[in-house]
Protein backbone atom coordinates (compact mmCIF):
# COMPACT_ATOMS: atom_id res chain seq x y z
CA UNK A 1 0.00 0.00 0.00
CA UNK A 2 1.74 3.05 -1.26
CA UNK A 3 2.12 6.27 0.69
CA UNK A 4 1.96 9.78 -0.79
CA UNK A 5 4.79 11.97 0.49
CA UNK A 6 4.44 15.73 0.07
CA UNK A 7 7.86 17.39 0.25
CA UNK A 8 7.59 21.10 0.98
CA UNK A 9 11.15 21.71 2.15
CA UNK A 10 14.11 22.91 0.15
CA UNK A 11 16.76 20.25 -0.55
CA UNK A 12 19.16 22.53 1.35
CA UNK A 13 17.39 21.34 4.48
CA UNK A 14 18.55 17.75 4.84
CA UNK A 15 16.51 15.58 2.53
CA UNK A 16 18.54 12.47 3.35
CA UNK A 17 16.47 11.44 6.35
CA UNK A 18 13.22 12.12 4.49
CA UNK A 19 14.25 10.14 1.41
CA UNK A 20 15.32 7.20 3.56
CA UNK A 21 11.81 7.06 5.06
CA UNK A 22 10.20 6.64 1.63
CA UNK A 23 9.57 3.16 0.20
CA UNK A 24 10.05 2.07 -3.41
CA UNK A 25 6.64 2.29 -5.04
CA UNK A 26 5.55 5.26 -2.91
CA UNK A 27 4.55 8.50 -4.61
CA UNK A 28 6.34 11.77 -4.00
CA UNK A 29 5.02 15.23 -4.85
CA UNK A 30 7.45 18.13 -4.73
CA UNK A 31 5.81 21.46 -3.91
CA UNK A 32 6.73 24.88 -2.50
CA UNK A 33 10.54 25.01 -2.12
CA UNK A 34 10.54 21.24 -2.45
CA UNK A 35 10.45 21.68 -6.24
CA UNK A 36 14.03 22.99 -6.02
CA UNK A 37 14.97 19.36 -5.47
CA UNK A 38 14.24 18.67 -9.12
CA UNK A 39 17.74 19.83 -10.02
CA UNK A 40 19.86 17.49 -7.98
CA UNK A 41 17.59 15.09 -6.10
CA UNK A 42 15.21 13.83 -8.78
CA UNK A 43 17.51 11.09 -10.03
CA UNK A 44 18.05 9.79 -6.51
CA UNK A 45 14.29 9.57 -5.94
CA UNK A 46 13.67 7.92 -9.30
CA UNK A 47 16.49 5.44 -8.69
CA UNK A 48 14.70 4.50 -5.49
CA UNK A 49 11.66 3.51 -7.52
CA UNK A 50 9.25 6.24 -6.41
CA UNK A 51 6.61 7.84 -8.62
CA UNK A 52 7.71 11.45 -8.83
CA UNK A 53 5.46 14.44 -9.49
CA UNK A 54 6.09 18.18 -9.31
CA UNK A 55 3.57 20.99 -8.87
CA UNK A 56 3.78 23.07 -12.04
CA UNK A 57 2.98 26.48 -10.54
CA UNK A 58 5.74 26.09 -7.96
CA UNK A 59 8.19 24.99 -10.62
CA UNK A 60 7.38 27.89 -12.96
CA UNK A 61 7.37 30.43 -10.14
CA UNK A 62 10.98 29.49 -9.45
CA UNK A 63 12.11 29.62 -13.08
CA UNK A 64 12.33 25.88 -13.68
CA UNK A 65 10.74 23.50 -16.14
CA UNK A 66 11.00 19.77 -16.63
CA UNK A 67 10.69 17.54 -19.66
CA UNK A 68 12.05 14.50 -17.85
CA UNK A 69 9.98 11.55 -19.10
CA UNK A 70 9.68 10.03 -15.61
CA UNK A 71 8.64 13.19 -13.78
CA UNK A 72 4.99 14.18 -13.93
CA UNK A 73 4.39 17.91 -13.93
CA UNK A 74 0.92 18.41 -12.45
CA UNK A 75 -1.52 21.17 -11.49
CA UNK A 76 -3.84 21.25 -8.46
CA UNK A 77 -6.27 18.88 -10.20
CA UNK A 78 -3.43 16.39 -10.50
CA UNK A 79 -2.56 16.99 -6.83
CA UNK A 80 -6.14 16.11 -5.89
CA UNK A 81 -6.00 12.95 -8.02
CA UNK A 82 -2.83 11.86 -6.21
CA UNK A 83 -4.59 12.19 -2.86
CA UNK A 84 -7.56 10.19 -4.14
CA UNK A 85 -5.20 7.38 -5.08
CA UNK A 86 -3.42 7.33 -1.70
CA UNK A 87 -5.08 6.86 1.63
CA UNK A 88 -1.95 7.66 3.65
CA UNK A 89 -0.48 11.10 3.11
CA UNK A 90 2.64 12.35 4.87
CA UNK A 91 3.95 15.89 4.53
CA UNK A 92 7.55 16.86 5.11
CA UNK A 93 8.23 20.54 5.69
Amino acid sequence: MAVLHLIFRSPERDWDAVVERIAPGDSVLLLADGVLGIQREAERLLAKGVHLSVLEADLRARGFRSDHPLIRVIDFDGFVDLTVAHRRILSWK
Binding site: A17, R88, I89
Partner: protein
Protein backbone atom coordinates in the same frame (compact mmCIF):
# COMPACT_ATOMS: atom_id res chain seq x y z
CA UNK B 1 -9.30 4.13 13.30
CA UNK B 2 -5.57 3.62 13.66
CA UNK B 3 -3.87 7.01 13.98
CA UNK B 4 -0.20 7.91 14.03
CA UNK B 5 0.98 11.23 15.46
CA UNK B 6 4.47 12.22 14.33
CA UNK B 7 6.56 14.75 16.28
CA UNK B 8 9.52 16.21 14.40
CA UNK B 9 10.09 19.53 16.15
CA UNK B 10 11.72 20.38 19.45
CA UNK B 11 9.42 21.27 22.37
CA UNK B 12 10.96 24.75 22.51
CA UNK B 13 9.56 25.81 19.14
CA UNK B 14 6.95 28.30 20.40
CA UNK B 15 3.50 26.89 21.08
CA UNK B 16 3.88 24.12 18.48
CA UNK B 17 4.57 21.43 21.07
CA UNK B 18 1.73 22.41 23.39
CA UNK B 19 -0.79 22.72 20.57
CA UNK B 20 0.29 19.42 19.06
CA UNK B 21 -0.10 17.63 22.38
CA UNK B 22 -3.55 19.19 22.80
CA UNK B 23 -4.53 17.67 19.46
CA UNK B 24 -2.96 14.33 20.33
CA UNK B 25 -4.89 14.12 23.62
CA UNK B 26 -8.13 15.16 21.94
CA UNK B 27 -7.64 12.38 19.42
CA UNK B 28 -7.10 9.88 22.22
CA UNK B 29 -10.17 11.19 24.05
CA UNK B 30 -12.23 10.16 21.03
CA UNK B 31 -11.23 6.55 21.65
CA UNK B 32 -9.09 6.42 18.56
CA UNK B 33 -6.19 4.00 18.54
CA UNK B 34 -3.26 6.40 18.68
CA UNK B 35 0.44 5.68 18.29
CA UNK B 36 3.16 8.31 18.70
CA UNK B 37 6.39 8.50 16.72
CA UNK B 38 9.27 10.85 17.54
CA UNK B 39 11.62 11.75 14.69
CA UNK B 40 14.42 14.28 14.22
CA UNK B 41 14.21 17.08 16.83
CA UNK B 42 10.94 15.59 18.08
CA UNK B 43 13.00 13.23 20.24
CA UNK B 44 13.90 16.22 22.45
CA UNK B 45 10.38 16.08 23.89
CA UNK B 46 11.69 13.25 26.05
CA UNK B 47 14.86 14.98 27.21
CA UNK B 48 14.72 14.86 31.02
CA UNK B 49 15.17 17.80 33.34
CA UNK B 50 13.67 20.47 31.11
CA UNK B 51 12.60 23.86 32.45
CA UNK B 52 10.58 25.33 29.58
CA UNK B 53 9.00 27.76 32.05
CA UNK B 54 12.24 29.73 31.83
CA UNK B 55 11.13 30.56 28.27
CA UNK B 56 7.53 31.20 29.25
CA UNK B 57 6.45 27.90 27.71
CA UNK B 58 4.10 25.33 29.21
CA UNK B 59 5.92 22.35 30.72
CA UNK B 60 4.77 19.35 28.69
CA UNK B 61 6.80 16.70 30.49
CA UNK B 62 3.95 15.73 32.82
CA UNK B 63 1.71 15.18 29.82
CA UNK B 64 4.28 12.88 28.24
CA UNK B 65 4.67 10.94 31.49
CA UNK B 66 0.92 10.55 31.83
CA UNK B 67 0.01 9.55 28.28
CA UNK B 68 -1.46 6.24 29.55
CA UNK B 69 -3.94 8.22 31.68
CA UNK B 70 -5.16 9.86 28.49
CA UNK B 71 -5.68 6.56 26.74
CA UNK B 72 -2.34 6.23 25.00
CA UNK B 73 -1.08 3.13 26.74
CA UNK B 74 1.66 2.04 24.36
CA UNK B 75 5.05 3.72 24.66
CA UNK B 76 6.02 6.17 21.91
CA UNK B 77 8.13 4.95 19.01
CA UNK B 78 11.49 6.67 18.63
CA UNK B 79 13.68 6.44 15.55
CA UNK B 80 17.16 5.05 16.32
CA UNK B 81 18.95 7.33 13.88
CA UNK B 82 17.28 10.47 15.26
CA UNK B 83 18.44 9.59 18.78
CA UNK B 84 21.96 8.70 17.69
CA UNK B 85 22.39 11.85 15.62
CA UNK B 86 21.68 13.84 18.79
CA UNK B 87 24.00 11.88 21.04
CA UNK B 88 21.08 10.36 22.95
CA UNK B 89 20.33 6.81 24.04
CA UNK B 90 16.95 5.49 25.10
CA UNK B 91 18.22 5.22 28.68
CA UNK B 92 18.60 9.00 28.62
CA UNK B 93 14.91 9.61 27.95
CA UNK B 94 12.25 10.63 30.45
CA UNK B 95 9.85 7.75 29.70
CA UNK B 96 10.15 4.24 28.25
CA UNK B 97 10.06 4.13 24.46
CA UNK B 98 10.00 1.62 21.64
CA UNK B 99 12.88 1.90 19.18
CA UNK B 100 12.51 1.64 15.44
CA UNK B 101 15.16 1.77 12.74
CA UNK B 102 14.77 4.28 9.92
CA UNK B 103 14.79 1.56 7.27
CA UNK B 104 11.77 -0.02 8.92
CA UNK B 105 9.76 3.19 8.76
CA UNK B 106 9.14 2.68 5.04
CA UNK B 107 6.72 -0.12 5.89
CA UNK B 108 5.66 1.32 9.28
CA UNK B 109 3.38 3.99 7.74
CA UNK B 110 1.10 1.28 6.37
CA UNK B 111 0.03 0.20 9.85
CA UNK B 112 -2.09 3.34 10.15
CA UNK B 113 -5.22 4.74 8.57
CA UNK B 114 -4.31 8.38 9.09
CA UNK B 115 -1.12 10.26 9.96
CA UNK B 116 -1.05 13.53 11.90
CA UNK B 117 1.97 15.60 12.81
CA UNK B 118 3.27 18.48 14.87
Amino acid sequence: MRCLFVFRHSPWDGSRGAESLDLLLTLAAFDQEVAVLLLDDGVWHLHPGQSPGVLGLRDLSALWRNLPLYGIGASPWVEDESLRARGLQDGDLSIPVRRIQRKRLVAFWNRFDVILRD
